[in-house]
Every structure is written in structure tokens, then in C-alpha cells.
Amino acid sequence: MDVLYFAWVRERIGLPRERVDTSAATVADLVAELSAREERYAAAFADLAALRVAVDQELADFDAPLAGVREVAFFPPMTGG
């Protein structure tokens, strides 16, 4: 699936999007998998309360299932308007 990062999450991880092959069942499992990879991921995901997640471009919770999902995005709380 495609994993996208925005704002300071993108800056901390160092890339805007990547292709991830995973068998993670939920968003939280995916976060654990990425955090185990490298320090920059662990740093970006250190405080989940400061993060928001979208699954296939809809806001979702960290326990959302990933079966059939094409795109997951991580970002800080939004500041539009």
C-alpha cells in the first residue's frame, strides 16, 4: 500500500510517500512495524496523540483495519482556514 506523510511528519521521516509491503492488520500494527524499522520513524510516531491518520483519504482511528486499503496517510492536526 501507499503510505503518505504530511507536514512535520513528512519532514521527520524525510519523505512524502513510499510503497510499503505489509501484512499489518490495523493502522496501529503498521505504526509499530514502521517504528521498528528506523529511528526516524520511531521519532515521528513517538506521540500518537499528536498524530492524525487517514485511510483511503478518510479520517480514521489507529485501530482501523487495513484489509483492502490502498492508501494510509499520517499527519499532525489540521490547521486550514
Partner: protein, 145 residues
């Protein structure tokens, strides 16, 4: 209903004048415009967004406003990319038979747009760059609807 997400500046006067123009079933039109606020140190603001999801989120928010109030028309324009202090970031406009619906729906659109549409602001200042933090008051504002 019209939703526009673009990098270019928009012509607020022309958009405001054209919105619901000549519609004699709509007695009340409200517009809101957001402007880049500056202070001595701010050189520019950069707005990042999530192409694809942004349009979808704005359409859902506007559709929800139309579901809650009897609106004759809705417009949302939001820019992304670099902007200078004093430039217009975005606008919403609502039109209804009476003023209560036009005011309430415009305030509703702004509250949801602030906290539920995927935009992020970064301030570039003489003394460094920083991401604008979400205001607790903005999240709290959603509970009134």
C-alpha cells in the same frame, strides 16, 4: 455548490459579486475570508495539503452544511502553497432565504474546515520556520454543532 482548491490567488471581489447573483429566492448571503496574519518577523506562510483528500473532505463538509440548513448555494475556495502577510488564504460563501441559516452554515463550514480538512500551515520567519499548532479552541468549536 462549488469547491475550489488552488495555488493561485483568487479574486475575492469577483467571487463575492458572482455568488448567488440575481437569485431572488435567497435573501441572505454570508461570506467569510481568511487572511494571512503577519507580525514583524513573518516573511511568508506556506500551506501544505493532501491532494485528493482535500477536495473530498471539503465536499463532505459542504454537503453536510446543505443537509443541515436550507441553502441555495455554497462556495468554498482554499489556496495552498506560499502566501505573504495580508494575502487571502480562503473564502466560504453561503446563501439562504433568511440570515440565521446563512450565518450558522458559514460558521459551521469554517469550524469543520479548520479541523477536518487536510491543510497545514508553516510560518517562515526571519528567526526560523515553524508549523502552526492546532488551537484547542478550534477542536472545541466542533462540539456546538
Amino acid at each position: 455548490m462549488r469547491i475550489v482548491v488552488q495555488a493561485d490567488p483568487f479574486d475575492f471581489g469577483a467571487e463575492a459579486a458572482a455568488f448567488a447573483e440575481g437569485r431572488d429566492d435567497l435573501g441572505a448571503v454570508v461570506t467569510f475570508t481568511g487572511v494571512v496574519r503577519g507580525d514583524a518577523a513573518l516573511e511568508r506562510m506556506e500551506i501544505e495539503h493532501y491532494p485528493g483528500m482535500t477536495e473530498k473532505a471539503l465536499e463532505q463538509i459542504a454537503a453536510e452544511a446543505v443537509r443541515r440548513w436550507d441553502l441555495g448555494d455554497v462556495l468554498v475556495i482554499h489556496r495552498y502553497g506560499p502566501m505573504r502577510p495580508g494575502e487571502r488564504i480562503m473564502m466560504v460563501a453561503t446563501a439562504a432565504a433568511h440570515r440565521e441559516a446563512a450565518f450558522d452554515s458559514a460558521a459551521f463550514l469554517m469550524d469543520y474546515l479548520k479541523s477536518r480538512a487536510p491543510f497545514w500551515k508553516k510560518e517562515h520567519a526571519a528567526d526560523g520556520d515553524s508549523w502552526v499548532a492546532a488551537r484547542a479552541a478550534d477542536e472545541a468549536a466542533l462540539t456546538r454543532w
